[in-house]
Every structure is written in structure tokens, then in C-alpha cells.
């Protein structure tokens, strides 16, 4: 009864949030250039991107259309690799002048002591660094022999800053699933406070690489590991918000699954497209900052994100958990959207 009440209150909460759709988390895909060539890259970034970096003024013009920003509204600079832009600090300072908090997601390759200092000086308040295993498995996925040493240094720097709300994210795959405990110990030693784990969806370069995708048993191993580690508070370990997790809900995260893409999360992509999380299929784009008013698009469009009945198709149409899951993560819908790419709850329900 207690659990049912909690669940019902949560469902009501998600309805209220959806109706309200307050934007408080805005991605800016400020570059599609990247200095790595990861095996799992889903965003088709490249060292020489066909898209030039978006000028800061273009993004600020879009940002300035947002009236009455939410109290904790923030901009997350992503890419590509955002630190390839030499003006990230200038971008950050312009955001702070507007009272906007900002953060970056980085692969750590360019995150040295000098850059750490200049980013803090420019008012960066949060940071996510990607680490995909111990040295061998990380370098394998990142396709670079230098990557682990660089990211190790970046983590040391980030963990030393009192100001930063910092976490490490890891893409779990067949190469690192057996070293979860060792990665955990490594992160404890590095004084990391938060660790978020992902799985890799069969999109982008991961689509045809079976070494990247977890089996049903490996998915259970991952969820059991997270559930177990959450019992002690050495590090705040959690599964990312990528998918509904069936019977593991609340054991692998702080609350029930709720995909906030297009509800609280928006994005300005490299070509000016307006969407939600950058990893969502580009067919969901709702407008473009070079043709539309960002604020109007956010207020008046985004129906596929806010009314998700269309996801009740394929296996989701007959699923008894649909009310709790609502089609799982938006990034799991591609192509003609007739079937979800991966159902995590289904994977862990096999005996």
C-alpha cells in the first residue's frame, strides 16, 4: 500500500511537471569537432566536422528569448568535445553575466591544470568526465592509447575542486562489465563522490559492434552491482536516466524513472536545431534558432515529448508496465518509431 501510494504520487508529479514543462536544463551542442574516435560514438562527430562551431552570439540570441528562467536554470556545454573550443571560458562568462549557471561534459583529453583553473575562474559549477573502464578497457573504447592517462589527470583535478559538482560517467559494455568493482575502488581512491553508469544503445557506431552491447545476464549483473553499492554511501553510484529498469526501479536510482526530455530538458544543436537531449534522434527536432524564436518553440511545440501515447506501439502496446515506463527513454526511439530499440526491463525479466 505504501509503495502504491508513493507510485501514484509520483505519477501525479510527472503529469504536473509535463503540463508545466519548465525549462531548467539546456544543452548547447557548441561544437561537433572531437579529438577522439570512440567505438561507441552515437553522434557522428569527427575530428573535422562538417559543421563549424556555433558562434557564441547565435546561442546567446536564442537564450535571451527565454523569459522568466527557472531558478536553477543551467546550460550544459557539450559536443563533440567542448574543450576544443578556445572560447569556452568566454562563453561561460557571458552566461554568468546573464545569471545562468553552466557546466561541461568532457572526455578529459584537454582538461589539464591550466584549463581547470581558467574554467573555474570563468564560473563553471558542474562537470562530468567520461571514464569507460580501467586503462586497457577505457583506451579500447576511446580508441586511443593516451586517453586513460589524460582522463586520470582530469579526474584528479576535478576531485580537488570544492566548487565543482562533479561526477564520472561510464559506458558499460562487454569489455568492462567484469571490472566494475575495480573501477569502483579506483574512483574511491581518486576521491570521486558520484558515479553514473550507462549502457550503450545500438545506434551510431555501436549498432554493428557486438562487443559493446550487454547480454541479458550482464544487464542484471550491472543492476545488481549498482543496487549493492548504493547500500553503502562511499560513492553516490546510480544508473543513468536512460531507461525504465522494471523491478530495479528505486534500487538503482534516487527515484522512479522519468524521462524529462522536452519536459524540463531542451537543447540547441550544432546546426541551430531545437530539440531535447542531444542523443535523441534528429527526426524529433522541433525548430531552429536561425528561423524560430526559441522560447516560442519551447512553449508551443514539443508535443511528441509531452504526449507520449505514440510510444504505445510494438512491444510497448502490450506491456503491463507501460504506465510506469511511458516508452522509456526518448533516445531509444529511432527510424519509423514502430518499436523501441532496447527494453531494459524486458532484458532483466528473462530467467
Amino acid at each position: 500500500m505504501f509503495t502504491n501510494l508513493k507510485r501514484k504520487a509520483f505519477q501525479q508529479f510527472t503529469k504536473t511537471e509535463t503540463k508545466r514543462h519548465g525549462l531548467n536544463y539546456l544543452f548547447w551542442e557548441c561544437t561537433s569537432r572531437c579529438n577522439l574516435n570512440c567505438l561507441h560514438c552515437g553522434s557522428d562527430c569527427s575530428k573535422q566536422s562538417s559543421h563549424p562551431d556555433m558562434p557564441l552570439t547565435d546561442f546567446l540570441n536564442a537564450l535571451d528569448t527565454i523569459e522568466n528562467k527557472a531558478p536553477h536554470f543551467m546550460v550544459v556545454l557539450t559536443g563533440g568535445e567542448p574543450l576544443l573550443r578556445e572560447d569556452i571560458e568566454l562563453c561561460g562568462r557571458e552566461l554568468r553575466k546573464r545569471g545562468v549557471r553552466w557546466s561541461i561534459v568532457t572526455n578529459g583529453m584537454l582538461y589539464n591544470a591550466e584549463r581547470h583553473n581558467s574554467l573555474l575562474n570563468a564560473g563553471m559549477g558542474a562537470l562530468t568526465i567520461s571514464l569507460d573502464g580501467l586503462e586497457k578497457s577505457h583506451n579500447w573504447l576511446r580508441n586511443s592509447t593516451e586517453s586513460f592517462n589524460k582522463v586520470d589527470n582530469a579526474i584528479t583535478l576535478a576531485a580537488s575542486a570544492r566548487r565543482l559538482n562533479f561526477d564520472v560517467v561510464s559506458c558499460i559494455n562487454k569489455q568492462n562489465i567484469d571490472e566494475l568493482n575495480e573501477i569502483y575502488s579506483y574512483l574511491c581512491k581518486k576521491n570521486v563522490k558520484a558515479w553514473r553508469l550507462f549502457t550503450i544503445a545500438p545506434i551510431g557506431r555501436a549498432k554493428n559492434n557486438s562487443k559493446l552491447l550487454l547480454s541479458n545476464d550482464e544487464m542484471k549483473t550491472l543492476f545488481n552491482f549498482i543496487s549493492e553499492k548504493r547500500k553503502n554511501n562511499e560513492i553516490d553510484v546510480k544508473f543513468s536516466c536512460e531507461a525504465y529498469t522494471g523491478k530495479y526501479e528505486t534500487y538503482v536510482r534516487d527515484s522512479y524513472f522519468f524521462c524529462r526530455a522536452g519536459i524540463n530538458i531542451g537543447s540547441v544543436l550544432i546546426d541551430g536545431s531545437i530539440s531535447a537531449c542531444p542523443n535523441i534522434d534528429r527526426s524529433f527536432v522541433q525548430g531552429n534558432i536561425y528561423a524560430d524564436n526559441f522560447n516560442s518553440i519551447w512553449d508551443e511545440r514539443f508535443q511528441p515529448f509531452r504526449e507520449r501515447q505514440w510510444t504505445k506501439t510494438g512491444k510497448c502496446a502490450i506491456c503491463s508496465d507501460y504506465k510506469k515506463c511511458k516508452g522509456s527513454g526518448m533516445h531509444l526511439w529511432h527510424g519509423d518509431k514502430s518499436e523501441i530499440l532496447v527494453c531494459h526491463a524486458e532484458m532483466i525479466s528473462y530467467k
Binding site: A9, Y25, S255
Partner: protein, 121 residues
């Protein structure tokens, strides 16, 4: 206002204060941290001219910055009760030669502007 209250009550009923704290799949944690903006200008006590290249360091935070062509500096740092700032001439004779100076500041509320004068050596 009423809607906000209702939202908080429903959120509270689902026993998850974390509902209002989230991060997107490929995003960063939210930033609820407090910080302050420390700005200022460094001048020569003798000539009143701005000094370029003075290193401004914050004790215990590992942050530093060099003053620009106009002797100005500007950086954000974690909110604290007090700060010890150190002003050092690290480029020797290049932009004049100045004595080191330590400055303690307290009760910074969001931002502060400092005017610092350094004695020539």
C-alpha cells in the same frame, strides 16, 4: 505560486526530494553550489598606473589569475567566510618590479571589487 506549492506537495508525497534535482542522460549534475565573483584592478602605488602580469592567487583553492593589460582581474570562486589573496609579481622586470602583497577579505556577498596598490621594489 499556488501551482508551485502543489507541485512540491505532490513531490513530497512521493517521498523523493530528489525529484527536483535531476541530470539528463548525457548531461552533468545540476549546479546548486554557491560562489562569488572577485574582481579588481592592480595599480602601482608610485605611479598609479595599472600593472599587467600580476598573479592573483587564492589560498587553499589552487585558483589563480594574471592581471590583464589594464591591471584588471576577475574570477569566480567557492563561497567562503573569508579569503586570503596573494598578489605576486612573477614576471620580474617585464612590467615593472613590485613587492608581493597579501590581502584578507571577508563577508563577500555575491561579488566584490578590489583596488590593489603594489609598492615598487
Amino acid at each position: 505560486m499556488k501551482q508551485n506549492l502543489l507541485r512540491k506537495i505532490i513531490g513530497g508525497l512521493s517521498f523523493a526530494s530528489v525529484l527536483f534535482v535531476f541530470q539528463a542522460c548525457y548531461g552533468t549534475p545540476q549546479d546548486f553550489g554557491l560562489d562569488v565573483l572577485i574582481e579588481g584592478q592592480v595599480k602601482s602605488k608610485a605611479s598609479g598606473e595599472p600593472i599587467k602580469g600580476i598573479k592573483i592567487s587564492i589560498e587553499n583553492e589552487g585558483q589563480n589569475q594574471l592581471s590583464d593589460d589594464n591591471g584588471q582581474f576577475s574570477f569566480y570562486t567557492v563561497a567562503a567566510n573569508s579569503y586570503n589573496l596573494q598578489f605576486s609579481d612573477i614576471d620580474s622586470l617585464q612590467n615593472g618590479y613590485f613587492e608581493k602583497k597579501d590581502t584578507a577579505i571577508a563577508h563577500v556577498n555575491e561579488k566584490i571589487f578590489l583596488e590593489i596598490e603594489l609598492d615598487p621594489r
